[in-house]
Amino acid sequence: MKILVQTEAFDLGAEVDAMRAGRTDIGAIASFVGLARDMNEGSGVAAMTLEHYPGMTEKALAKLVDDANARWTLQDVTVIHRVGRLLPGDPIVLVAVASRHRGEAFAACEYIMDFLKTQAPFWKKEETPEGERWVEARESDDAAAARWNA
């Protein structure tokens, strides 16, 4: 398990290669990269700044990974989330999950993303033509997390 909160960019290929290095028992690696977009809620976004709660962030991410491990049989999980100022097109978050079987890798990867969105203490502030604004939480993200309890 690898959990990082960092300002630097990450390298998806290198992270996935690190998961599988020296192993021949992994059947599936599902991964996700979330990127900063140039538009949100109908406004152009020139840049965004990600703030977080140091200490709690790492705890919250570790708990999500523990929950995923309890729910599925996983072989390795990597979560990297960037903070600081990011430009449109910049990668924000990486989640990669290795498992013997693809169904578990896909489910766990999406589960971790859904709960990261609603549980991990990050906040985005966007720079738009109308000024700076804090991004509001989305009901669709709450709904995405809630469906795992169904």
């Binding site: 709660y53 989330h81 906040w123 985005k124 939480a137």
Partner: protein
């Protein structure tokens, strides 16, 4: 009891403070919120009943009736928007 209280994101900006140490007489999160609202202004407005915010004690999100212990780290922040 003595608490360390942290504010993040929009609430940090509205309150003009990111962190403070304070004495709290009550024993729950709800008691602390009453005390903070009594400061008036942005405090009364943002922490009013019906406003949406989250409270974490010692880095775990808790409900309003959660107990507080001396020396606890309490954080108050808007719903999260990472990922």
């Amino acid at each position: 009891m003595k608490l360390r209280v942290l504010y993040f994101a929009r609430l940090r900006e509205r309150f003009g403070v990111g962190e403070e140490s304070l004495e709290c007489d009550g024993g729950t999160v709800a008691d602390l919120l009453v005390q903070l609202r009594a400061r008036g202004g942005a405090w009364a407005e943002e922490l009013a009943a019906g406003r949406t915010f989250r409270v974490a004690v010692d880095q775990s999100i808790v409900p309003p009736d959660a107990p507080l212990a001396d020396g606890a780290e309490v954080a108050i922040f808007p719903p999260v928007t990472g990922g």
